[in-house]
Symmetry: C2
Subunit: 202 residues, 2 copies
């Protein structure tokens, strides 16, 4: 199953190029498990979720450690019928057999609970889209139940859910939302915004 993300990093500083270049080293441990292509709008990461989410987390935490207000925006996708399969996307996290929704919620909570802290606080919001399935709202509501117990839930907003907490728990929560809700072999996407060091943060 093809999976990956289009990601963009926005440091709100005159030295945005320096902050981005300074953070890119955080991707080095993942480069052999990702296909990476960059243009003037975004960087494509092709690979399985268990590599994508830690890579995005480490890239964003490195940029945030500059102390500048930084935002990471990402469109994450799996199972799009228009995309070719790619061996680099082989994953133990997605594509498995269908499991009852309650079991998936419990597994997602266990995964978030056992995630180490990064000591980088972040705020985030995201939308989960489940395509090509008449019961897509059941999966959305199941995911919202999980989010409310995740420890990083802040509030529901129109069109999205807002999270706040350590970058480790927040990215783990996004990973679980992406992998465990919607059909295992289905077309599922996340629209993610992660923010650090905002002057208007609560």
């Amino acid at each position: 199953m093809f999976s990956g993300a289009q990601i963009s990093l926005y440091p709100m500083t005159d030295d945005f190029v320096g902050v981005i270049l300074g953070a890119l080293g955080a991707l080095d441990p993942y480069r052999d498990r990702l296909r990476i292509e960059t243009d003037d709008i975004s960087t494509l990461l092709v690979g399985p979720p268990e590599v994508l989410f830690p890579a995005m987390r480490d890239l964003f935490a490195a940029a945030a450690r500059s102390g500048r207000h930084c935002v990471l925006s990402a469109a994450v996708s799996r199972g799009c019928p228009g995309e070719p399969d790619d061996p680099i996307c082989r994953s133990d996290e997605i594509g498995g057999p269908a499991i009852p929704l309650d079991e998936r919620k419990r597994a997602a909570l266990r995964a978030v609970e056992t995630t180490p802290s990064t000591d980088q606080p972040v705020a985030a919001q995201f939308s989960l889209y489940v395509m090509g399935n008449g019961g897509h709202m059941d999966e959305i509501y199941g995911c919202i139940d999980f989010l409310k117990q995740s420890g990083v839930f802040e509030r529901s907003k129109h069109f999205c859910t807002k999270l706040r907490g350590d970058a480790g728990a927040v990215f783990a929560t996004l990973n679980e939302a992406f992998c465990r809700f919607g059909p295992g072999a289905g077309h599922v996407t996340l629209d993610i915004t992660i923010s650090a060091n905002s002057p208007t943060a609560v």
Copy 2:
């Protein structure tokens, strides 16, 4: 039908607050037709597409005229089954009867052709998501056909389509993609990124 957007404006400059505050006046002509709520991650605009897209265009063009590298990110949604209806969202553009895909493509092209220029060049990329419909990929491919003839098509990328041109034609193209593809009363979203003044632009 409930419709609106969560939008964020990212000026890549130390004076990002000044650029954002300086651009907000561009929303004034639309304020009586939108509900607007802001927090530390995004600004919610609730209203019909015929107000949302011109408002986003004018806000972004005003920020881009600062000359700084600016990005607007938006999650635009209509017909989400989990959202309440709101009279401010009443629209002549969405919710009408089903019309054959070819007719919708032609109408979309006419709308883009007749859009005035803003003299602000932009690059953009976006994903169209059509939920709760077994034939969602037919609507996606129909939209891609329209995009290729829109005059602002740059290229297809994994998970999204990239546009480039005047802000007027680009936002009109996004408006048409949002309103004319996917079921008239269905749940449709766009994940949009618009960029100006990038140092790496082609």
